[in-house]
């Protein structure tokens, strides 16, 4: 299963839609998840379904009208909405006997919110993922989205946040006890992006000129998986171009024409779902 997440920004709706069609078809995307997408996903679905000869898509329905995320998926999958909160939503995707919990988030941004506020949302997000895993007896969860924090921020790796660690081997022991409380671990493959030799490195660029701490490239968009999914997880990468659309300008995200974020792509093994 190929999954693509993109914070499209709201500023360039026409360019984004044209680009999305190519992104989907060129990368054989099964599940497309969008944050800040200004257009109707129904229209996007119809456009893609007209172009595509093989794949047919449908929207992932939401019950709350103010859902933070919009998503479309190949029509072959069965969708069960599980939960919708103001910053995230969870759905179950199934095909035949295989099930997967997809948890999609658009966290609060760093400019207007302090670390604790960001942590709180992510902490709730993690709690609800685990609660739904237990409720559905499904240990295959994939969390994806614009977390608005980096993998190295406490909200990502601390026990009070996502508790998502960069080393899959650490999940041989699935929990860790701190202050007499047991915390479930997650695996964060987004860390792999930091080792890329050439751009695009991660999904977001910010030049904090003149400051001592300036990393330039940040991984605010992340994919995180539960232990049960580690062996089914294949690949994570940033996509910076399609046949007719270059999402970079001077080696940075071209936010004038597209978005200040780049799309995050990941793949689960085909035989899984």
């Amino acid at each position: 299963m190929n999954i693509l997440f993109w914070n499209t920004n709201r500023k360039n709706p026409e360019n984004i839609t044209a680009c999305l069609c190519e992104l989907l078809l060129e990368n054989a995307v099964d599940l497309l998840i969008l944050a800040e997408y200004p257009n109707e996903t129904q229209a996007l679905c119809e456009t893609i379904n007209k172009i595509s000869l093989t794949a047919q898509y449908k929207i992932i329905p939401t019950i709350k009208k103010s859902a933070p995320i919009k998503a479309i998926i190949r029509a072959k999958y069965t969708i069960n909405p599980l939960q919708e909160e103001s910053r995230y939503q969870l759905v179950q995707i199934s095909q035949n006997a295989n099930r997967l919990i997809i948890a999609m988030i658009h966290g609060k941004d760093k400019h207007n919110n302090d670390d604790l506020t960001q942590l709180e949302i992510i902490s709730d997000f993690r709690r609800d993922i685990i609660e739904n895993e237990n409720r559905l007896k499904c240990k295959h969860s994939l969390a994806i989205g614009d977390f608005n924090v980096n993998p190295f921020d406490a909200a990502s790796f601390a026990t009070s946040g996502m508790h998502a660690l960069p080393f899959a081997s650490l999940l041989a022991r699935p929990t860790r006890t701190v202050n007499k409380k047991t915390h479930q671990k997650f695996y964060n493959p987004t860390w792999q992006l930091f080792a890329n030799k050439s751009p695009p490195h991660t999904s977001y660029y910010f030049d904090n000129s003149g400051q001592a701490q300036n990393l330039y490239w940040y991984a605010l968009d992340q994919v995180i998986v539960s232990k049960g999914l580690i062996n089914h997880f294949e690949d994570v990468k940033i996509i910076a171009k399609t046949k007719n659309h270059d999402l970079l300008a001077n080696g940075k995200p071209n936010k004038k024409i597209y978005s200040d974020h780049l799309p995050l792509f990941c793949r689960l093994k085909e035989d899984f779902i």
Partner: protein
Amino acid sequence: MSKSTLWGLDFDNSPINQQMQTPPETFVKDYGVELRTITNLKLSAEVEPCFGLEFDKVNPELQKLFGLNFEKSKTEKLQKELGSVGKIPDIYHVYEFFVTSKYIPLYKYRIMFFMYTPMMYPVAIALDEDIAQDIGKTPKFTCETEHEFKESLQQIVQSNSVKTVINTMFGIARKAEFENDWANALEG
């Protein structure tokens, strides 16, 4: 007429019984019963204790969820008065209040978490941001009295966000019942 007991006590008519407060979940359950009735069993509002979350006094999750210190509230005051003999157990009752429908399998719309100590009041409430915004409150707040709790509960349940979701769920449930196909009703 008062009952005669070996203890010489009549709990049924004692003043303490008259002053006893109703557990907060009792009021919440009333909303559940009514939702089932007015939707002709299409929707159900449940109140469930959160057993999965091991809440205790020092639990950081509890602090995060409700963002407050109960130790500094009435419990502590009473504890001081009682001293070590009448130690109050560190038990926190935490409940989740949510709406479901058999026509939308697996979906759960959480209205709120609420929590209280053996003192029952104050009750701490944790809400989704949208609902909090509708009723002009922060997502985490405390109701000091039973009256305050009942008033807040009504505001929450009658907020635009909750009404909109319940209306949508009802629409889907009605369509699904008619078409006998929840997936189609949801997507349509």
